[in-house]
């Protein structure tokens, strides 16, 4: 294992990978910081540009963008009171309150360092946890993989936002989209309606770019744009650098938040948003001065930031060891793995240790780099804010077109992107969450193939899915993961 780490460090410190890390981190910060572009959208927009790269460079840029996105989401939260990411809502409460009191730079320092601590902690957990879980998962056969994929799909209740029913429908739509094209087993055309464009199926990248990005731009275009109105007093980062003693004073909060964030990130349906709320709530509950919460509590800000960054390592552990996404962004990363001819999961760990250990090291180094990149990001964002919104929107639209075109250099993919964009727009108008559709599209093929293989093994007997212990447990967990939030919601509804 030691030699794998040495090789990974040597590879990551190659100039092209360091450059990829810096560019990915910066792009992630911008994507995370700008309202309207989420971390997952930032990662999706990057995927097409990784085609020509080696897999390690591609994943270096993508995981750096992932970590950068979670960190960047807090820049606008602190400076302007606008959460760039849903996971930065708690940061708005405390960080922007500090900024309004004239301590924007202090709030920025606190979130940058707490983010780095959370991110680095979770990478260490990932390094230890991934091989253990992956070795266990080597015992899996088709029924276990089907159950695992269902567990992956069960995150739908966590990423559905308001309505679980709409989330499930959105996920089923994604699963349906994954069936379009030629069936890999029988060679039959499904739902192509004699269209050559659909014969090869719906490509992930154009569909994701359309559903996530194009739909969002159309939706944003509807509203007359209001300029950011920051009431923060930004006095420069050097003047307000906190001391080490301030971090040490809150080390318990930091440690608890790191653990909460990592666990929450690893749970299907958890992710950065839930992590930050849980850790923030716990910090408020255990605080000696709970009345400061909402008025610029340093420990509240630290808790929110350490936990949402710690969720990245938790999500990546589950992605790399089991091949299932625990968050929106890791669902997008599965697509990136597939595009590079790799299948995340236990076999990847034994077959391509260079990629797995490379990702570990890339995440570790990029979390350290993010301290410096965030400072650059703050300065850059203060400048970027002057760019007219219309131009920014048009540039993003052209980037979407390039992203979808770059996959196969095919105009047909642009039509798929456009159609998915329009579908995504109407889905958003009707309050259907988009992330479950993407999840269904990403996992659909795998779910179908493993189910059909399982039934082939059992000569059509569906009991094979519940007669094997691991598969039965995973199916139970999947059912629990879907039903529990519905049950909890209906109980809350009855109580209110």
């Amino acid at each position: 294992m030691f030699e794998h780490y040495l090789a990974a460090f040597a590879a990551i410190f190659q100039p092209q990978n360091l450059l990829a890390m810096i560019l990915g981190g910066l792009w992630g910060i911008i994507a995370g910081a700008l309202p309207g572009i989420s971390t997952s959208m930032g990662v999706v927009l990057l995927i097409p540009f990784t085609f020509g790269m080696s897999p390690l460079t591609a994943f270096t840029i993508l995981v750096s963008a992932y970590c950068g996105g979670i960190t960047g989401g807090s820049i606008t939260s602190v400076l302007f009171g606008i959460p760039g990411e849903p996971s930065a809502v708690c940061t708005v409460i405390e960080g922007h309150a500090l900024a309004k009191q004239g301590h924007a730079a202090r709030a920025l320092w606190i979130f940058i360092i707490a983010s780095a601590i959370g991110g680095i902690f979770s990478v260490f957990v990932m390094m230890v946890g991934t091989p253990l879980i992956a070795n266990f998962a080597l015992q899996f056969g088709p029924p276990e993989y089907f159950a695992l994929t269902l567990l992956g799909l069960s995150v739908v209740s966590g990423i559905s936002g308001g309505s679980v029913l709409r989330g499930i429908l959105s996920c089923l739509f994604g699963l349906f989209l994954a069936t379009v094209g030629t069936d890999g087993i029988t060679g039959v055309e499904r739902f192509t309606f004699d269209s050559i464009i659909l014969l090869g199926g719906i490509e992930l990248v154009p569909a994701m770019v359309g559903l996530l990005a194009i739909s969002e731009i159309l939706l944003e275009a509807e509203q007359p744009y209001t300029e950011y109105k920051g009431s923060a007093h930004y006095r420069g980062l050097r003047e307000e650098m906190p001391t080490l003693a301030e971090y040490l004073e809150h080390w318990v909060v930091l440690a608890k938040s790191c653990v909460i964030g990592t666990i929450s990130g690893a749970l299907p349906g958890g992710g950065a948003t839930i992590a930050s709320f849980l850790a923030y709530g716990e910090a408020a509950r255990s605080s000696k001065k709970p009345d400061r919460f909402g008025n610029g509590a340093v420990d509240g800000l630290m808790a929110a930031e350490a936990s949402n960054n710690a969720s990245t390592g938790g999500s990546m552990t589950i992605l790399l060891s089991l091949g299932i996404p625990a968050s929106n962004t890791t669902a997008m990363l599965i697509a990136a793995f597939m595009i590079h001819g790799l299948q995340p999961g236990p076999l990847l760990y034994s077959q391509r240790p260079d990629i797995i250990f490379g990702i570990f090291v890339a995440m570790l180094v990029s979390n350290i780099f993010l301290v410096a990149l965030s400072i650059v990001g703050v300065r850059m964002f203060l400048q970027m804010n002057r760019l007219p919104y219309s131009v920014f929107s048009a540039a993003i639209m052209v980037l979407c077109v390039i992203g979808a075109f770059g996959l196969r250099n095919s105009i047909d993919d642009l039509y798929i992107m456009f159609a998915c964009g329009i579908i995504g727009y109407f889905m958003k108008k009707l309050a259907f969450p988009i992330a479950p559709a993407v999840l269904g599209l990403v996992l659909g093929d795998r779910a179908e193939a493993s189910l059909r293989r399982s039934l082939l093994l059992s000569l059509g007997d569906p009991l094979i899915l519940v007669s094997r212990p691991i598969s039965a447990i995973l199916l139970f967990l999947a059912a629990f993961s879907i039903i529990y939030p519905i049950f909890k919601k209906s109980r809350m509804f009855r109580e209110s």
């Binding site: 429908l169 275009a221 082939l456």
Partner: protein, 170 residues
């Protein structure tokens, strides 16, 4: 009662039912011992049809309840105008994007992008002359330099005179 969500949910139900009907023919396409091509789509689409029927039913029910509670106040002229404006922007943006994609192979990426960026920012309401003149140029040049020169994406050059023109740039 607001008809929008109910109509939307009805369209979704019809879509899933139509696809379910289309998938029924796939059911028997299989070799001996295999699970047919239609098994999985039928499973998904049946579930989707049932759930979308529930959604439609609940939206009709909610709409009715809301309709009974709310007084029938007509929307103000301002809100009608702003809704119409928003709808026009979305329609125009979508049409512009479709034209951009369609014409790209004929007029080439560079010219199509230049015109698209100009059109898109006008649709979004940009009227400042310096933005209208410089931003399409800057965006197009930046994108061509980064993606054509450095990343070597083979963008469409267009045909005839447009193809010759594109060769000057990439």
């Amino acid at each position: 009662m607001k008809k929008g969500p109910a109509v939307g949910n009805a369209v979704i139900l019809v879509f899933f039912l139509f696809m379910l009907f289309a998938s029924l023919g796939l059911h028997e396409v299989r070799r001996f011992g295999e699970i047919g091509s239609g098994f999985w789509p039928i499973l998904i689409l049946s579930l989707a049809s049932i759930l979308s029927a529930i959604l439609l039913f609940s939206s009709l029910l909610k709409g009715k309840e809301r309709g009974e509670k709310e007084s029938e106040e007509p929307p103000s002229p301002d809100s009608i105008a702003s809704r119409r404006r928003a709808r026009n922007i979305v329609i125009l943006s979508s049409v512009a994007t479709l034209i951009y994609i369609f014409t790209m192979q004929w007029v080439g990426f560079a010219i199509a992008t230049l015109l698209y960026v100009l059109g898109f920012i006008i649709i979004l309401g940009e009227r400042r002359k310096w933005v209208l003149i410089f931003s399409p140029l800057l965006v197009t040049v930046f994108i061509l330099v980064v993606f054509s020169k450095f990343i070597s994406i083979p963008f469409p050059r267009g045909i005839g005179v447009f193809g010759e023109l594109s060769r000057f740039f990439f």
